[in-house]
Amino acid sequence: MNDDALVRVGRALRVALLIALALLFLIPFYLLVRNGLASEADITSPDWTFFPSTLHWSNVTELFDDSTVPFARSLLNSALIAVATTLGTLLLASLAGYGLARIPYRHAGKVFYAILGTLMVPAAVTFVPSFVLVSSLGWVSTLRGLIVPTLFSAFACFIFRQYFTGFPAELEDAARVDGLGYWRTYWRIVVPNSRPVFAAVGTIVFIGAWNSFLWPLVIGQDREAWTVQVALSSFTTSQVIRLHELFVAAAISIVPLLLVFLFFQRWIVAGVERSGIDD
């Protein structure tokens, strides 16, 4: 074979492999939807079929009518937590990142390293001490206990600081000439010109908050404080498993994130690319 033919064969093989891998990656999504719309008998049937014999849209209503699992309540909790965490993190971390990057202060370097140092300690390792603190505040099984401790993300602060360090100084200088102080410069000039980084960090934080499991499991001890993930988990570990309800609940739980992905995919990609890899 000559080189040209080799290249063409190589390309065909690559595309074939990509398609095969893509199908493999899509199988779990397919199973989620298939089982979510199948009857329990279809899910557990030993004669497995690609399509369920009939589609059971009633699984959805059955799920919300089931009084043993407070699914609607847990959806609401997750939505409240994800939105509050996202907004709170964006506000606190962006202010801190801006201060660190743009307000000259003798000890700014030390403060930055004090914040950066906490990135080294994985959040999951601190769940025992954090639980101790939150329970001594009396915040167990409250939304406060689920939201407030997660608002101070060193990761988000780090990204904002890196971004604002590279923010064009001319824009701020113009604001300074117009007599704006730091506060108004920040809100009127810097924030409106930094929408991409806010969108990127916001989507990453939102996804993290929606999907987080260990902390809500530890803090949400009462059913009233369950998040979607904890409710799903309690389904799988309970004695009586209603598989059709379980799968339709899981399918519903990923819808908000699929929407976020649809609308913000390029922000997520941009944010991921920017998250410290560029230095």
């Binding site: 290249v7 690559r14 595309v15 990509l18 891998l21 990656f25 199988i27 779990p28 999504f29 199973l31 089982n35 557990t44 497995w48 606190l92 971390a93 801190a96 201060g99 000259p104 202060y105 700014a108 914040i115 906490t118 080294m120 300690v121 994985p122 999951a124 390792v125 601190t126 769940f127 025992v128 001490p129 639980f131 101790v132 603190l133 608002l151 101070f152 060193a154 300074r176 102080g181 730091y182 506060w183 996804i207 999907n211 499991f213 260990l214 499991l217 799903l232 389904f235 799988t236 570990t237 309970s238 004695q239 899981a250 739980s253 990923i254 992905f261 995919q265 991921v272 690319e273 890899i277």
Partner: protein, 310 residues
Amino acid sequence: MLGEGGAGRRAFGTQNRTLWFWVFVGPFLLGLGVFTYVPLGWSVYLSFFDAHNTVTPSDFVGFGNYTEMLGNKAFTDSLWTFLLFSLFIVPTTFVLSLALALMVNRTRGAQAFFRSVFFLPAACSYVVAALIWKMSLFNGVRFGLANTVLGWFGADQTAWLSTTHPPWYWLVVVTVRLWLQAGFYMVLFLAGLQRISPRLYEAAAVDGARPGWQVLRHITLPQLRTTSVAVVLLLVINAFQAFDEFYNLLSDARGYPPYARPPLVYLYYTALGQGQNLGLGSAGAVILALIIAVVTVGQARWFSLGNKEG
């Protein structure tokens, strides 16, 4: 600075940078102090006490909790579990996500499509993924997809999650994480690939390097160095945090099996399970934090040593 001239009017002026610095950074730093530094300190303090069912320590036990934890086979086993897990998952995810990135990067037409498909699992939580794996893909009875497909070839049914010899449960645990993570790291590699100057490839072609392995080894991989270091670091830190998929795949109404407990799962049951032994759990958390710190610092050192040559 703050009391300069007692001019209250000027206190909030642009000139007073120190004050403004703290207005911007203060709230964040305060929260970080309360919800990260205080728990850490408290945890260290509590680890020297006997604290059952309570957050107020009673009896000082010195290093008792530490020796008990390190002498406990279940805990040291959990550390080995983690070690095995990361020794496997870190290189595997690395190779898979790099391979995906290389293939997707060279695809012209449907690049966005393939990128989305591989990235999409990142929208799933470990809870949802574990559910699909446990209840549908790798279910022990015949309605599981893996057993159905293997059954077409005449293979026996396997109880994937409860077979420890050979350790089939590893296959389940590892594939969940690969599926969820690979696309995320692929995006990091794609970003790195797109920053490589086309001139380097042109120069390599002029020098007679054959496209394929030679170019990959001498141009692409060295150029991806920074990205690779970051990916490995993130993979190791994430492996240390393994909890969600282990907990959701293996625990059920009857409890958690004695095998496949990574450190966090073990700590969870120690500190918040039936005994609620917070002193002991704190000692375990401190040990784990120290190990992670040593690994992370060691890794950073090692990589920056290598950097000087490149």
